[in-house]
Amino acid sequence: MTKNSPLIKIKIQNEDFDVSVETKMLQQTNTGAIVNFVGIVRGYDEKNDQIIDSMTLEHYPGMTESEIEKIIVESYKKWELTGITVIHRVGDLKPSDQIVFVGVSSKHRQNAFNGCNFIMDWLKTKAPFWKVEEKNNKKNWVSFNESDNQALKKWEK
């Protein structure tokens, strides 16, 4: 299994993505269920009660891709998936922009739900991306959310 296999797509990019196009690409022979996750840049920081004006995402070229590939290998083992696509945007983003797409296809729906959910939980805790938010012309690196570590634990069984 490689990144170039028709079943797998990993993209780190500045550009936006089209959910319909990605959904169609996930359809393989005998796919019965596709579950897509789309992350949206929120315009409001609840913890600090502040409006977010914009956001910049940086990553670690090379390592980010290889970590996502590990997630995907792990997901293939756990759930019988027929396709996986992970697209993560980097660079400057604005509130309400699409930031991440995780799409998985499988024969049956429960595996598709679990596979997609598992990849998102892993992405949130292991994939090297860092967000810096701009609020009132001040930059603020987003801090890690401990609840994401907790989320990952539900798969340890």
Binding site: E58, M63, A127, W130, S143
Partner: protein, 83 residues
């Protein structure tokens, strides 16, 4: 050896990457960071936040006691916040 810094570590160190010649007696990440700290105390940050900071050696998650050599690429970064 290439050393990379990300996020607020990069901003504190003042650069995203640097090339150093690794002295022969430096055997692991922990010794590397102590060595850097002797040269410039700004590397203190990494020692201060040791519990928090993540390490990659050649783009693979590693730890402070991972062995290193002069051909390696080392990275220091905070917990990830993508997705």
């Amino acid at each position: 050896m290439i050393i990379k810094y990300f996020s607020w570590i990069k901003e504190h160190i003042g650069k995203s990457e640097e090339q150093i010649e690794l002295p022969d007696h430096i055997k692991n990440v922990n010794e590397l960071i102590n060595y850097l700290n002797e040269i410039d105390e700004k590397y203190n940050l990494i020692l201060d936040k040791k519990e928090l900071i993540k390490i990659a050696v050649n783009k693979t998650y590693s730890s402070f006691d991972t062995n290193i050599n002069d051909n390696d690429e080392i990275a220091f970064f905070p917990p990830v916040t993508g997705g």
